[in-house]
């Protein structure tokens, strides 16, 4: 596990809409990289963020904290924030803390 094990890619999918594709392990250390990317995307006034997490093999509580923080920021501003296509680990940990409502349905 190290920082090189986590990547995040950004693509525009419409007017103020962004899809992020996260891959690798989101630990207490790499969660910061996710936070920086979300900060950047939110500061560009995007009102729709969807994060594909099919390639995330490990999501820590630190990662969940970041996701919950931006879920609240986006929804609090009338925007949308979703997690799409979660890996089994992501589903498992989100289920553990009953945060499945962040998943894209």
């Amino acid at each position: 596990m190290n920082n090189d094990n986590f990547t995040i890619m950004e693509e525009n999918i419409g007017e103020k809409k962004v899809r992020l594709t996260a891959k690798g392990q989101i630990t207490a250390t790499t969660a910061d990289k996710l936070k920086k990317k979300l900060d950047e995307v939110v500061s560009k006034k995007n009102n729709y963020i969807i994060i594909n997490m099919s390639g995330v093999s490990f999501l820590s509580s630190g990662g969940i904290r970041v996701l919950l923080m931006y879920y609240k920021i986006m929804n609090g501003n009338g925007g949308s924030f979703f997690i799409q296509d979660p890996s089994s680990n992501v589903s498992n940990v989100l289920g553990m803390v009953a945060l499945e409502e962040m998943l894209y349905k």
Binding site: T27, A28, K72
Partner: protein
């Protein structure tokens, strides 16, 4: 029993998780269970790195021990920082909608949920946190 002594800084988290993972790899443990145990271990080490040592005293160290007894893995974290029992943290209310949740407190709650037991003691100026989980049938 295998033991690792390391500076209690968040930069060392990966080494700690790798160490635990290496001990577990010798056993036939599913990836899901291993990931869950790492999630719990990460939270405990993160707590030590954040709270155990004050900036004035500089970085301190932590000792991590991994042992297998009967069907259980036992992981112990020891540090010489200020007395701190993370188990006293109030559990978050996970029945309320995400929008009303507070951001903190999820990690230790998850660790409690994942492990079969977690015990804390403060002995001879050391914080000692011991967690146990059944890993074989």
């Amino acid at each position: 029993m295998k033991e690792m002594a390391i500076d209690a800084t968040i930069e060392n988290l990966d080494s700690v998780l790798d160490f635990i993972g290496a001990q577990m790899s010798e056993k036939n443990i599913s990836e899901e269970l291993l990931n869950n145990i790492k999630t719990a271990a990460e939270e405990i080490f993160d707590n030590i790195a954040q709270y155990a040592y004050k900036p004035s005293s500089g970085a301190g160290s932590a000792i991590i021990r991994v042992d297998f007894i009967d069907k259980d893995v036992i992981i112990e974290f020891e540090d010489g920082g200020v007395p701190y029992n993370p188990l006293e943290k109030k559990n978050p209310d996970i029945t309320i909608p995400a929008m009303e949740r507070s951001i903190g407190g999820l990690g230790i709650f998850m660790a409690k949920k994942i492990m079969d037991t977690i015990e804390y003691k403060y002995k001879k100026n050391k914080n000692i946190l011991t967690m146990k989980k059944r890993v074989s049938e």
